[in-house]
């Protein structure tokens, strides 16, 4: 069915509402003024320059980037085998396992963050790398499992059976045949778990400390204390980065496929 003009208009309005904040931020990030005012008094790239020389934010950016990379790697290594088991193996409790792995997504992150703090504080893991990695993995692993289950399930079982008959043990067949054919899904899972960790704010708020803080937390604090367009320049940089990542996923396997919606 061809969309009617009514549907087109509604879609256009919907997109406009969704994109308006980003457009506003884009304009503000090139402001020449001292404050977040609209319309800006003039245009310049001074806030992008200022962003690059802000030590606190740049250090937080570094932390977030390293954290997100580690989280993505851990999520793939832990979620990959779990996804393979869910997609390929018959075992009692498979449905329960799949449901359990998705459970953290159902919990409000506020509750999750508080619970993590209560557990990690006595262990001396609050405001440490292991604590942050653990907290982020809780929300990242369900994404990785979901995407990679779809990716593994899309590889014909017959390929693995063929590998067995050619003398490959089940493990070798999984690693040499199924995994390479699920690689786009693994890359998509890596990119998306990276973004999940990179954007994670609420859990981080509970788990960061004075010497170890992530970018979303520092952005939150900066915006709380200052009202200059630097935060817009940062937001714009992050949007551009996230867009690039999603584009990579889209090119590799289609975003909606990666999310397992089809």
């Amino acid at each position: 069915m061809k969309p009617t003009w009514m549907l087109r208009v509604f879609a256009a309005i919907g997109y406009a509402v969704l994109m308006a904040p980003a457009a506003l931020v884009l304009v503000l990030s090139f402001s020449a003024g001292e404050y977040l005012t609209f319309p800006p008094p003039g245009f310049s790239t001074r806030w992008y320059v200022a962003l690059a020389s802000n030590g606190v934010l740049m250090s937080a950016l570094g932390t977030s980037a390293i954290l997100a990379s580690v989280v993505a790697a851990v999520a793939l290594l832990a979620g990959g085998p779990a996804a393979y088991a869910i997609a390929r193996l018959e075992f009692p409790g498979r449905g329960v396992l799949a449901a359990l792995l998705a459970a953290p997504l159902l919990l409000p992150t506020l509750v999750l963050g508080l619970a993590l703090l209560l557990v990690l504080q006595p262990l001396g893991l609050a405001a440490t790398w292991p604590g942050l990695v653990l907290g982020h993995c809780l929300v990242a692993i369900p994404f990785a499992v979901r995407i990679m289950t779809t990716a593994f399930a899309a590889v014909p079982k017959e390929l693995e059976a063929a590998a067995w008959t050619l003398g490959a043990t089940p493990l070798r067949a999984a690693l040499r045949i199924t995994l390479p054919n699920a690689a786009p899904g693994a890359i998509a899972a890596g990119v998306l778990t990276f973004l999940v960790s990179f954007d994670e704010t609420v859990i981080s708020l509970f788990l960061v400390g004075p010497r170890l803080s992530t970018l979303p937390v520092e952005m939150f604090r900066y915006a709380d204390q200052s009202a200059d367009p630097l935060i817009a320049a940062l937001a714009m940089s992050l949007i551009a980065f996230a867009f690039l990542m999603v584009l990579i996923v889209e090119r590799l396997m289609g975003f909606s496929n990666a999310m397992g919606r089809n």
């Binding site: 017959e158 390929l159 063929a162 008959t165 003398g167 089940p170 067949a173 054919n181």
Partner: protein, 370 residues
């Protein structure tokens, strides 16, 4: 049940194989036993759902039998996982590894055996040479046609020099013209290499043309295991008679002394006196001779039927003449190049059909006690 070739020690032996899927009313494979001599080609022939593919998958180790044993070269492999069975399998979907080249696919099994890189490259090339695809060794499967993919799959299965070659409907994905050529190639290759082979098909022509032995399967059971000629000319059961080849069905009562009284009134000479009572007889069209007007039945041909032409079906090489007779509808087959009065015959025209008593394949009527 017929057990062919048990005198020479069989290379492959299936002994009472059973596979019953949970929740299914009947077993998919039901007490299948057979033996296959070394170097022979066995066709598992039957309609879809008859258990032939399940049987093949059990031989390969991809399916676990609920009962029974599988012996290869006298060794019980029933409990072995597929990667320890050393069997080359060509899947219906070919199951080529999409991320590897044709050569990579063929070399994979050799790599799993731990063969050094240089040697397995040479062996893979030789295997591709065998199927005439050496020039396309560097192509990925998606860059190959269906027929080429099929050959790569065959080369991959043969490269490991398997104890047993298993083919699951390997021709079904090819178009009709290609199928016959590939069929003969596979058979020639199999005979040249002497690889003991099991071949699953629902196509009786394929089975008859390729196999040394045909096992006709129905509802999980082997109905008959025999050489192609025997399957076709002397079907052991009613199912085999109707599934393999075409036949007219004549219902009636077989009387002592070998007279078959057809429901339509005709009295025919038939063999198989042991089956006295309600019977169904099957008559293959190529066994029925069309007699010219006034022509006497040749000596030794016991049965003569008169009837009228109901329909004429031209299929190129042969013409089928369907006649209404006192024994019911009977079809005679005439070579399309044969001269005769049939060329001018219109529906409704009288004709005379002759066949021998032995041409009637007699079975107990369905529903009657066997």
């Amino acid at each position: 049940m017929t057990l062919a070739a048990t005198d020479t020690a069989p290379h492959l032996r299936l002994d009472g194989l059973v596979r019953h899927y949970a929740g299914a009313p009947a077993p998919a494979v039901d007490r299948v036993s057979l033996g296959l001599p070394r170097g022979a080609l066995l066709a598992l022939l039957g309609p879809s759902g008859c258990g032939k593919t399940t049987t093949l998958r059990m031989i390969a180790g991809l399916e676990t039998p609920d009962a029974g044993r599988i012996l290869v070269g006298g060794r019980d492999v029933t409990a072995l996982p597929p990667h320890k069975r050393h069997m080359g399998v060509v899947f219906q979907s070919y199951a080529l590894f999409p991320h590897m080249t044709a050569a990579g696919n063929v070399a994979f099994g050799l790599e799993m055996q731990g063969m050094p890189r240089a040697e397995r490259a040479r062996r893979a090339e030789a295997a591709l040479e065998l199927v005439g695809l050496a020039a396309l060794a560097a192509r990925k499967p998606r860059q190959l046609s269906g027929g080429q993919q099929q050959r790569v799959a065959l080369a991959r299965a043969l490269a490991i020099e398997p104890d047993l070659l298993l083919l699951d409907e390997p021709l079904s994905a090819l178009d009709a013209k290609l199928r016959e050529g590939v069929r003969d190639e596979i058979r020639a290759l199999q005979q040249r290499l002497g690889t003991t082979t099991v071949f699953v098909t629902h196509d009786q022509v394929e089975a008859l043309a390729m196999a040394d032995l045909v096992a006709v399967m129905n509802a999980g059971r082997v109905e008959q295991l025999a050489a192609p000629e025997e399957i076709f000319e002397r079907p052991a059961t009613r199912f085999v008679a109707t599934f393999v080849g075409r036949a007219a069905r004549i219902r009636g009562v077989l009387e002592p002394g070998g007279v078959l009284r057809a429901e339509g009134g005709a009295a025919l000479r038939a063999a198989g006196a042991a089956l006295v009572g309600q019977v169904e007889a099957f008559l293959r069209p190529h066994r029925v001779r069309l007699l010219g007007a006034g022509e006497a039945a040749p000596a030794g041909i016991e049965n003569l039927l008169e009837g009228t032409l109901a329909r004429r079906v031209y299929t190129g090489e042969v013409v089928s003449l369907e006649a209404q007779t006192a024994a019911g509808p009977v079809t005679a087959e005439v070579h399309a190049s044969a001269e005769g009065a049939w060329r001018e015959m219109q529906p409704g025209a009288p004709l005379r059909l002759a066949f021998r008593a032995n041409d009637l394949l007699v079975f107990p009527a369905q529903g009657a006690a066997a």
